[in-house]
């Protein structure tokens, strides 16, 4: 068993489940936003701000953001271990992805809780 090289979870199964779960959360979010756009007659700043004022929406958005990051990391980790046999390039690529992912989370939290 290749134990040391799971990307995020503690096992291959864990990674696999995380990726499916995050996909479902992202889909739910898109559907929910779609519902908002479809049922709101006019998208004004007030309507938009009202949507994000509730704690539910903030938590839901953060959850989705985390899902995006987890999904992207597991996916790109797999792609990089498939197509980047050179360790230096692979590690550099993975480092960049990690930095982007973490920045997205920090930035997202700032936006959500400062509105």
């Amino acid at each position: 068993m290749v134990t040391t090289v799971t990307s995020l979870g503690r096992s291959g199964l864990h990674d696999w489940v995380l990726q499916r779960l995050s996909a479902v959360i992202m889909l739910a979010y898109v559907v929910y936003l779609g519902y908002f756009f479809a049922t709101t007659p006019e998208i004004t700043f007030t309507a938009w701000q009202g949507l994000f004022a509730s704690t539910f929406m903030k938590v839901f958005s953060l959850l989705t953001l985390l899902s995006v990051v987890i999904h992207a990391w597991i996916g790109l980790w797999i792609v990089s271990t498939d197509y980047m046999p050179k360790v230096s390039i692979r590690v550099a690529f993975q480092a960049i992805v990690i930095v982007i992912c973490l920045s997205l989370v920090v930035w997202g939290i700032q936006i959500l809780w400062s509105l």
């Binding site: 068993m1 290749v2 799971t6 990307s7 096992s11 291959g12 498939d82």
Partner: protein, 232 residues
């Protein structure tokens, strides 16, 4: 009919090259591709390939025929378009001409412990199994280890040292589902890393090429649900 055959002798050739042959094949001939290779070898004894049973049982003449992996002995000429391009199985090191080094393939096979392990007392005659339990092995035990599937699988090309590959996983499932085997949990635990099973991306190249009509992708799906259920 035209044939283009991959030739490479590492002792004399700097690079592999394609050798062309032109053969008169009577219209409606039911010759198999292996017969042609045997004929060609008579003309040019340096041409190397593996074969044994000549009837799709031993699994030794897996080749890449017009871009698709298959057994030369059960591929009839009438099913092929001229020119017939014959290459060794992709992704494995070439030893010479159409002969590849299967070590990596066998290593993955070995890894899944392809034998029954039963911790129960050895019976006087044999370990019994109900007809229903026996039926579960259908579509699994028929594998002849020809490597057509694994060498058609991109995931196996990229990680032949870590991804077990369709052939090995089909056999892994064959022992996971065997009612007489008592090491199911252990077998599952051995497979639960990011590569062994989970590198399968469901491309189904394996199903497309298997000369025995087996379905490794389905077996891999079963292993996944077993892992999920046992929650390791």
């Amino acid at each position: 009919m035209k044939f283009k055959i991959y030739r490479y002798n590492p002792e004399t050739d700097k690079k592999p090259y394609m050798q062309e042959f032109d053969l008169d094949i009577p219209e409606g001939s039911d010759k198999m591709l292996l017969d042609v290779l045997v004929d060609l070898k008579e003309k040019d004894p340096t041409l190397s390939f593996r074969r044994s049973c000549r009837e799709g049982v031993c699994g030794s003449d897996g080749l890449n025929i017009n871009g698709k992996n298959g057994l030369a002995c059960i591929t009839s000429l009438s099913s092929l378009k001229s020119p017939v391009v014959i290459r060794p199985l992709p992704g494995l090191p070439v030893i010479r001409d159409l002969v590849v080094d299967m070590a990596q393939f066998y290593k993955q096979y070995e890894k899944i412990k392809p034998y029954l392990i039963a911790d129960t007392e050895t019976p006087a005659k044999e370990r019994l199994q109900s007809p229903e339990d026996r039926e579960k092995l259908d579509g699994l035990y028929e594998c002849i280890l020809c490597a057509c599937c694994s060498t058609a699988c991109p995931s196996f090309w990229w990680n032949p040292d870590k991804f077990v590959g369709p052939s090995g996983l089909l056999q892994a499932y064959r022992f996971l589902i065997d009612s007489r085997d008592t090491r199911t949990e252990e077998r599952l635990a051995d497979l639960d890393d990011a590569y062994s099973v989970f590198r399968c991306r469901g491309i189904m190249n394996c199903v497309d090429v298997c000369p025995k009509g087996l379905n490794p992708t389905k077996a891999i799906g079963h292993i996944r649900s077993m892992l999920l259920k046992s929650g390791v």
